[in-house]
């Protein structure tokens, strides 16, 4: 297990370097003139260009630039934004909100998704099952921004139940509706995944064995069926947490949440390259670590998986 963890960590390195280099090259390297449009209608002053070129090593070739950036990164230096603020501070301000939103979304999708999946999987064909199948179909088909706009309009503007714009440093209650929107697609997947694995496991031989042993139905379902079914669900949720933390751009935009998604979007529109690269690097790290944790979790949950 230890050796497996180490090997997976080592495998992450090229992936990390590749992903971040692509992003770095895209935002820094591909435009002919990095200062085009930076200073409004006028051309930038030579003094400004000199400061910027020095700050971002723009005279070096792109690979050297990237390596210098990476070197600074390892000392915790994310660089500075165009206006001179530390990127690390900007991220530190916005990231807690995004993490909070991702966790709210994850809890909502896990609780509702798993419950719906269990109920429809155990009941078998019938009204509840059809209801779950149809509603998951709709959730999968609704793009997140449509769900968000509709809920904002109905709950916020017309019924006045929620604020249409989430305040700075929001409470959990402020994030429930945005969290629901963010998690809605995965909620549908969780429900379907739970349902399918439960149905598959219902027919499994070891469930029949458990019944033949004279265990109570509660124990057969709770210990023998659920544990096996939830392995797939838990791993999906783990991967999803990584994705949610990087995929909240749309939701944050719709509800005006000042999180990392809004930050990166604003950074791109204002061509604030350092901010964009900093955030993307961070999100790639989060995403890769989430996937590694899921792999390890899988090994813990299913003893058949042996890594060596």
């Amino acid at each position: 297990m230890g050796r497996y963890t180490l090997r997976r960590l080592l495998q992450l390195i090229p992936v990390f370097l590749g992903s971040t280099f692509i992003v770095y090259a895209l935002v820094w390297g591909l435009s002919d003139d990095p200062f085009a449009g930076k200073c409004g209608q006028r051309a930038c002053s030579p003094a400004y260009i000199a400061v910027m070129t020095e700050r971002y090593n723009l005279d070096d070739n792109i690979v050297v630039q990237y390596l210098k950036y990476l070197g600074a990164l390892f000392t915790g230096d994310f660089g500075q934004t165009a206006s001179g603020t530390e990127v690390a501070d900007v991220i530190a301000n916005a990231y807690p909100t995004t993490i909070k939103l991702a966790i709210v979304a994850l809890v909502i999708e896990a609780v509702i998704g798993i419950l719906a999946g269990i109920v429809s999987g155990l009941r078998g064909r019938g009204f509840v099952d059809s209801l779950v199948l149809v509603s998951t179909l709709f959730l999968i088909s609704l793009p997140v921004f449509v769900t968000g706009l509709v809920l904002k309009q109905v709950l916020g503007v017309e019924l006045g139940i929620i604020r249409t714009s989430v305040p700075n440093d929001p409470s959990i209650a402020d994030l429930i509706v945005p969290g629901f929107v963010l998690g809605s697609l995965s909620m549908a997947y969780v429900a379907r995944l739970t349902r399918t694995s439960l149905i598959e496991n219902t027919r499994a031989d070891y469930v029949r064995t458990a019944v033949a042993k004279g265990l109570s139905r509660r124990r057969v379902v709770g210990v023998h069926m659920l544990r096996n079914s939830l392995i797939a669900v838990v791993t999906f949720l783990g991967t999803d947490l990584g994705a949610l933390m990087g995929g909240a751009i749309v939701t944050e935009g719709v509800f005006n949440i000042r999180g990392i998604g809004g930050l990166v979007f604003k950074g791109i529109l204002q061509q604030d390259t350092a901010t964009v690269v900093g955030i993307v690097v961070l999100l790639v790290i989060v995403y890769l670590i989430a996937n590694l944790v899921v792999d390890l979790l899988y090994a813990v949950l299913d003893p058949r998986i042996r890594y060596d």
Binding site: A204, Y206, A212, K213, G214, S216
Partner: protein, 344 residues
């Protein structure tokens, strides 16, 4: 037949169907057998003949739906089980009757240790603590002769070999000391050498504990050695029933004969063709009228397509469901002895 006040287990005229409407399959069409303490009843038949469905109905683990019990009776020590309170039936499982399955790898839960799964019974049926239950589980593994039981009790099913897994399965089924054990093709998935060890173990445990044993199999070799009585099933019916020696010497049903002819024999001339039964078992949703075996039977006459032959007594506790059973019993000249079949 010794008519005791009540047998350990008695199945009578059991009918089970699967599916709905035109797709209805009649899987059991009046199965009846019984078993007493300390004896081994072998149930023999091709796959799809209803052996396992009967066993699952007895255990009360038949999936309903799709299955449907449409008639008959299952009595354990005289107590009717069909229609009994589900909780009562659950208490009988494990405690009074237990079952082991063909494929121990899939019959054991892959995510729990073998010991955990045995210990479950002690914990939830005997109220033992986790620790005591684990200790008892190790004793059970020791009983079925798994070496190093104390360590292996913590291992997972996939870490056991095929034979070991089946031993663990047996240990699990015997945990609550049941009076009846149903073994559903317990050795089919195993190597031949391991098969013999498992059969020996089962036979020994049955003798020690005075259990009734129902051994479901399609393997004549397995049956010959350990069975006191044999019931042959075809298309959801018992077509012949007698003790092992009589069955081999004087089979009264052409299907039984066919089964034995399709097994290679030691005295076969080298290169001699086997004699498989022609055709396939009938589709259970379209069982032919009359004797269900008549389309495959070389001796079929008009009456076979018209009348269902009932299972009738031929004398000496030998029953067969064939219109011409007496003829077959009498004429049969060239039967292998039990020994020859076993040593194939």
């Amino acid at each position: 037949m010794t008519v005791a006040a009540s047998h350990l287990l008695e199945v009578e005229d059991l009918h089970v169907e699967f599916g709905q409407g035109r797709d209805t399959a009649s899987v059991l069409n009046g199965v009846g057998y019984h078993v007493d303490e300390g004896e081994t009843l072998a149930v023999l038949g091709e796959s799809g003949s209803g052996k396992s469905v009967t066993a699952q109905t007895v255990m009360g683990i038949l999936d309903t739906p799709p299955g449907r019990i449409t008639g008959g009776s299952v009595r354990f020590r005289g107590e009717e089980l069909l229609g009994a309170d589900p909780e009562r039936r659950r208490m009988l499982r494990g405690e009074s009757m237990a079952m082991i399955f063909q494929d121990a790898l899939s019959a054991l839960n892959p995510v729990y240790s073998v010991g955990f799964q045995i210990a479950e019974q002690f914990r939830f049926r005997r109220g033992m603590s986790r620790k005591d239950a684990m200790a008892r589980a190790a004793e059970m593994l020791d009983l079925v002769r798994i070496p190093n039981a104390k360590q292996r009790v913590r291992e997972y099913p996939h870490q056991f070999s095929g034979g070991m897994r089946q031993r663990a399965m047996i240990a699990m089924s015997l945990a609550l000391d049941p009076e009846l054990l149903i073994a559903d093709e317990p050795t089919t998935a195993l190597d031949v050498t391991v098969q013999a060890q498992i059969m020996e173990l089962l036979d020994e445990l049955r003798r020690e504990r005075g259990m009734g044993l129902i051994l479901i199999t399609h393997d004549l070799g397995v049956v010959a050695e350990v069975a006191d009585r044999i019931a042959v099933m075809y298309a959801g019916r018992i077509v012949e029933h007698t003790d092992a020696a009589t069955l081999y010497a004087h089979p009264g049903h052409p299907y039984t004969r066919g089964l034995m002819d399709s097994v290679p024999r030691v005295d076969d001339v080298a290169g001699a063709a086997l004699r498989p039964i022609p055709g396939l078992p009938p589709s259970l949703s379209a069982i032919p009228p009359g004797c269900p075996f008549h389309p495959r039977c070389a001796h079929a006459e008009d009456v076979c397509a018209a009348e269902v032959p009932l299972l009738r007594e031929l004398g000496g506790d030998h029953q067969a469901a064939c219109h011409f059973a007496e003829r077959f019993v009498a004429e049969d000249p060239d039967r292998p002895t039990t020994h020859e079949v076993v040593s194939r």
